[in-house]
């Protein structure tokens, strides 16, 4: 059995914990990298303790978990580190878009009322997704049996669609036009009045902008 000086021991233990695929116990260290060295329990403990201290001010930390020692990122850095992994959420379903549209146009509205219009149940998943995206929120409860939540759109919803207020949502004539024209968007006659109407209305609404 060979001797190993403390500095080498520290480098070796440090490197091993960093290259290991999972946390390593002191026993695992002894069975692998330290197999040919005589290392006292005290020396090993000391080195581990020093490493914990060395990394205290750094972006990663040496921690002891149930299955051994491992290096992990500093908890407070997580909001930024999270950006290193991005996953794209799937596109919204028709049910999701219709629910959102009904909440936007008919707010405040209960889930039951949405279901009444759509003729099908609204899944909790849809409500959760829209709530998590902070596009809708509960603004109150309808005082009927069961006190269902009343949903409305949020400031974030308006911001996302660059709307100053809900009044800027295209009106029924516009979407009639949109719908009819879907294959051929050339018909301007239907769009024209909505433009001027909008101007008047925008003037009316201006004051609400920074409520």
């Amino acid at each position: 059995m060979k001797k190993i000086n403390k500095n080498q021991l520290k480098q070796l233990v440090e490197a091993a914990l960093f290259v290991a695929d999972s946390p390593m116990t002191k026993l695992a260290l002894r069975d692998t990298i330290l197999a040919e060295f005589t290392v006292s329990e005290r020396a090993l403990n000391e080195v581990l303790k020093e490493l914990v201290l060395d990394y205290q001010p750094r972006g990663i930390q040496l921690v002891e978990v149930a299955s051994g020692y491992r290096f992990q990122s500093l908890d407070s850095l997580s909001p930024w580190l999270s950006r290193m992994w991005q996953e794209s959420a799937p596109r919204y379903s028709r049910a999701m878009l219709e629910t959102l549209a009904l909440i936007a146009y008919r707010q405040p509205i209960t889930r039951g009322e949405i279901e009444a219009v759509r003729g099908v149940a609204v899944s909790s998943n849809i409500i959760r997704t829209l709530t998590e995206r902070e596009w809708i929120k509960v603004v109150g409860h309808k005082e009927v049996p069961g006190r269902p939540s009343l949903y409305a759109t949020t400031r974030q919803f308006l911001d996302y669609f660059s709307l100053k207020s809900l009044a800027d949502l295209p009106s029924s004539e516009v979407f009639e036009a949109l719908d009819d024209n879907e294959p051929s968007p050339s018909t301007a006659t239907l769009e024209a009045p909505s433009e001027s109407d909008r101007a008047i209305e925008t003037a009316n609404i201006k004051r609400e902008e920074n409520e």
């Binding site: 960093f18 992990q72 996953e87 008919r106 603004v139």
Partner: protein, 277 residues
């Protein structure tokens, strides 16, 4: 350089132990001047050559020749002996070895031809091309060896990785939605619901509905909120009108109830509907 004219020792076969070593896959053979080597061992040696150039280089190095002076005759003899052994061993003799034998023979014959008297002719040294190839191959061989010695992943260096803290969550990229999609979705929903009249969704109503949401968020079901608290005078008349319409709509939809304790008293509102209606 001094040994350039030294002829190779083509000795009679002498049985001797085979001092054979492999360093980085390269056959290092101390003095196999004779070719009397146990056939299976020879096979191993021959297979370690990476082709005719490698074998030639080995022969040159073994005899301590200088590549630049390439004693073609001597080398050719030795090379042919190896090739003969390969043949007798029925080694799968690569065509490249035979091609090289032909090249060597050709060079040798050209060297034997009497040279013209005029020194300035452009008759090139027949060995030149072979020498160039040998030098080039030797450089490649060296480069390969250096590359092999270069610290590399898995063998000398290992990737280092720290775990992420539990709180690291992949950033979710939410899908894009266009305003048009929302408008169309609403239109579709409305069309399906025959009971609804499209025109009831007026623009005026939308600003009212927005205000309805705002008012609902302001009041609660436990305590009464003074009605005038729901008006913001700074908004001007239009704003007050929108609020008023919103309150009326909320009462109509039985979301809000208004209470007035006596004539001209302050009106209060709270969530809920008038039971006594």
């Amino acid at each position: 350089m001094a040994e350039e004219q030294q002829e190779p020792v083509v000795s009679t076969p002498i049985q001797q132990p085979l001092p054979l070593a492999f360093i980085n896959g390269e056959a290092v053979i101390e003095k196999p001047e004779d070719l009397y080597i146990p056939p299976d061992a020879l096979e191993v040696i021959l297979e370690t050559f990476e082709g005719p150039l490698d074998l030639l280089l080995y022969l040159i190095r073994k005899q301590k020749f200088d590549i630049v002076t390439l004693p073609v005759a001597a080398i050719t003899v030795q090379y042919m002996e190896y090739v003969e052994v390969m043949k007798t061993l029925k080694l799968e003799l690569a065509a490249e070895y035979l091609l090289m034998a032909a090249i060597l023979a050709e060079i040798k014959s050209r060297l034997l031809l009497p040279r013209r008297s005029d020194e300035e002719d452009d008759e090139e040294d027949p060995r030149a091309e072979l020498i160039r190839r040998l030098k080039e191959y030797e450089a490649v061989k060296e480069a390969a060896q250096t590359l092999d010695e270069q610290p590399r992943m898995e063998r000398d260096i290992f990737a280092v990785k720290a775990d992420v803290a539990e709180s690291v969550q992949p950033l979710r990229i939410e899908p894009d939605v266009s305003l048009q999609e929302i408008v169309l979705a609403f239109s579709h929903a409305m069309k399906r619901a025959a009971a609804f009249e499209h025109h009831t969704i007026e623009r005026e109503a939308l600003s009212t509905r927005e205000r309805m949401s705002q008012i609902l968020a302001q009041v609660n079901g436990e305590t009464y909120t003074p009605l005038d608290a729901l008006f913001t005078l700074e908004e001007g008349r239009a704003g007050v009108v929108v609020s008023f319409l919103a309150i009326l709509e909320l009462v109509k939809e039985q979301l809000l109830m208004c209470v007035q304790t006596g004539p001209f008293a302050r009106i209060h509102v709270k969530l809920g509907r008038h039971e006594e209606d």
